[in-house]
């Protein structure tokens, strides 16, 4: 038996029917449940209870609403990333851009609360704009370095995450700390009209609406506008873009601004929809999860919305697991990572056909 030679042949696929592609993705996501169970069992964790807790999150309306609002910062950041990745701009900095969005949104609230600037009715709109511009500008810096000087964007965007997190730390430990807050590192609580629960009584509804509107805008922008076309050409072939007379600097700046701006609005959702104030380390890595979501959705803006709700649900499940099974949230993180790896491996099988012959 051992003597039989097994030949593995790997050929590049010439075409990939939609059905095959979906089948590969589905199979590997199923496989990630199996692998995750194996890892959990290996560590002596009851995998059936862990996974059934995860599934049950999506079956109850209350926890589903929680999943939605937890998923929206991820979703907006992922929508931004879908633009950036299409442009071949490897923005690993959504996390930092989220923090810059939180910073700007909170700044607007403080201007209003401390100095009476900006009327109540315009406050939320101003917060959206401010967080968009703040996150956007933060992402144009690496964008500029890339387009102008050819600096690879991966490490700068990654490094800027830590700078933004530390900057927010500085604010809440220092000048922005609530004067009546018993010296806890927290900003003042936002007034009701600066929070998202005003709309239909739950922040999830407004969050979901915002995400769907943004998904539509991203779809139209990428498929029907000149700038969207230019961004795609830059992503596919920089040299062709240059020959075709596309202004590389302008396209990269606009693309990175939009990408960072959407993550910035995600930051607004964190402070305005989830917490209701600014605190240090307010994002438990939403910006990194957004990368997984963007890939899971194949950069398709419509699929990003449900995918981000799925990952929001995983976060909610993490807390449920912690409470019910006394396990760290990390169990969910392991599950996320395994799904992520399976999605990447699926890419391989979509690109190549593997046949095994004896």
């Amino acid at each position: 038996m051992l003597g039989t030679a097994v030949k593995i042949r790997v050929e590049r696929r010439l075409e990939l029917p939609r059905r095959t592609s979906a089948a590969i993705s589905g199979l590997l996501i199923l496989l990630s449940f199996v692998v995750a169970s194996a890892v959990f069992e290996l560590l002596g964790v009851n995998s059936v209870r862990t996974l059934s807790t995860i599934v049950s999150v999506f079956l109850s309306p209350t926890s589903l609403l929680q999943a939605v609002i937890r998923g929206m910062p991820i979703g907006l950041a992922a929508l931004g990333l879908s633009l950036a990745f299409r442009m071949n701009f490897w923005n690993i900095g959504a996390e930092g851009q989220l923090y810059m969005g939180m910073f700007a949104a909170t700044g607007v609230v403080l201007l209003h609360a401390y100095y009476g600037a900006i009327p109540e009715q315009l406050l939320f709109t101003t917060m959206i704009l401010a967080s968009f511009v703040s996150g956007g500008l933060y992402c144009t810096l690496p964008g500029y370095l890339k387009a102008k000087l050819g600096v690879n964007e991966i490490l700068p965007t990654l490094m800027l995450n830590y700078v933004a997190i530390l900057f927010v730390d500085f604010l809440v430990y220092g000048p922005w700390r609530d004067p009546k807050g018993f010296s806890f590192p927290l900003s003042i609580t936002f007034p009701d009209y600066a929070r998202m629960d005003g709309f239909l009584g739950n922040a999830s509804y407004l969050g979901l609406t915002m995400a769907l509107v943004v998904a539509a805008i991203v779809y139209v922008l990428m498929n029907w506008t000149t700038i969207g076309f230019e961004m795609r050409v830059v992503g596919q072939n920089v040299d062709a873009a240059k020959y075709g007379g596309i202004n590389l600097l302008r396209t990269t700046l606009i693309g990175s601004f939009l990408a960072g701006g959407l993550a910035g609005v995600g930051g607004l959702i964190i402070v305005s929809g989830l917490i209701g104030r600014l605190r240090p380390r307010a994002s438990p890595g939403y910006g990194y999860t957004a990368i997984i979501v963007a890939f899971l959705a194949g950069l398709n803006p419509w699929l990003i919305v449900p995918a981000s709700i799925f990952f929001g649900g995983l976060l909610v499940a993490g807390e449920a697991i912690q409470a019910a099974l006394n396990l760290p949230v990390a169990a969910v993180q392991v599950f996320q990572a395994i799904i992520f790896i399976m999605i990447i491996v699926a890419e391989f099988f979509k690109r190549y056909r593997v046949t095994i012959r004896r």
Partner: protein, 326 residues
């Protein structure tokens, strides 16, 4: 006199804090010199820290380091399988590995799971070892005579075994990289894999070896962080150090000898920030001081992009690109 003593302790602290970065960046240098960008360093480190936490409490330091090296080897080879054999995107694979590592680190550090694993490794273990949040720190081994040299004695001759090992490794890895045939092969694979292939160098195996080394050193860096530097378990205790190590590789321009200086510089910043906090000097400063390594990295990257600088230093040209013989 007090000022001199304070400076000496800062410098010794810079070495202790910097060794985490040094060990990790030595591994990353080999990976990147071979053309593989390993963004999974952070994950490898936290797994290394968690494994050494468990195994030290079960069986002691020796077995802990052995287990950590094996774990790192597995992670490094896993990364290589996905990026070299399956030719998947190195950025995405690295990030996935980091997320996986952070998750595994959290699971392994969990009280209940840890207890079970320690008991499985050593059923006769003392009850205390099952519950503590810490582990025995590696002992310092002062070197006679040399330890009394002012400043340098405190920095280099009153430290633990892993710090000595990191210094030896630096020289050995520099020598291998620049003075041996294997080093030449490694560098040419990262520079021009097609040419290296034509000259009879096995690109795939070379990259596998580089990633194996990188994985082992990444996990060892995490292990040092725990048993050699801060032997108290905190979830997510690497706190971005793996990414700083990546930055440091650039600052060191892919050279092990320069990595020492850069690592101690970053270690010095970390130590200084702790001390300033202890002294209560300007509560606002720490955050800005902590931003320095990241900002320095961005500036360095920008400088490196200038053509003249780039040519002189030799950035691995094929960094991040999977090799395919088609």
């Amino acid at each position: 006199m007090a000022a001199v003593g304070w400076l000496e302790s800062i410098l010794a602290g810079a070495v202790q804090a910097g060794t985490v970065f040094l060990i990790a960046s030595l591994g990353e240098i080999y990976a990147e010199r071979s053309g593989v960008l390993n963004l999974g360093m952070e994950g490898m480190m936290i797994v290394g820290a968690a494994v050494s936490f468990i195994v030290t409490n079960a069986l002691g330091h020796g077995y802990a380091i052995l287990a950590v090296l094996l774990m790192g080897l597995a992670l490094g080879l896993g990364h290589a399988f996905l990026t070299v054999t399956l030719k998947l995107n190195q950025i995405v694979v690295g990030l996935a590995l980091t997320i996986l590592g952070l998750g595994l680190g959290g699971l392994l550090g969990n009280a209940e799971i840890r207890r079970r694993l320690i008991l499985a490794l050593n059923p006769a273990v003392e009850e205390r070892n099952l519950i503590v949040q810490e582990a025995a720190k590696l002992p310092d081994i002062p070197i006679p005579v040399l330890k009394d040299i002012p400043v340098l004695g405190g920095m280099f001759f009153q430290q633990n075994a892993l710090i000595y090992l990191s210094l030896v490794l630096t020289f050995v890895m520099w020598f291998i990289l620049f003075r041996t045939r294997f080093g030449l092969a490694l560098r040419s694979v990262g520079e021009n894999p097609a040419m290296a292939d034509a000259m009879g160098i096995n690109v795939f195996i070379t990259r596998y070896i580089a990633m194996a080394i990188c994985g082992m050193l990444g996990a060892l860096a995490g292990s040092y962080l725990f048993i050699g530097y801060q032997p108290f378990w905190v979830e997510g205790m690497t706190n971005g150090r793996g990414f700083i190590a990546l930055a440091l590789v650039i600052l060191a321009t892919w050279n092990p000898l320069r990595a020492v200086l850069a690592a101690y510089l970053f270690g010095g910043v970390e130590t200084l920030q702790f001390r300033l906090q202890l002294l209560g000097v300007a509560a606002q400063i720490p955050q800005f001081l902590l931003m320095l390594p990241y900002i320095v990295t961005i500036v360095t990257l920008t400088l490196l992009s200038l053509e003249s600088v780039r040519k002189r230093i030799g950035v691995p040209a094929a960094l991040g690109i999977p090799y395919s013989r088609e």
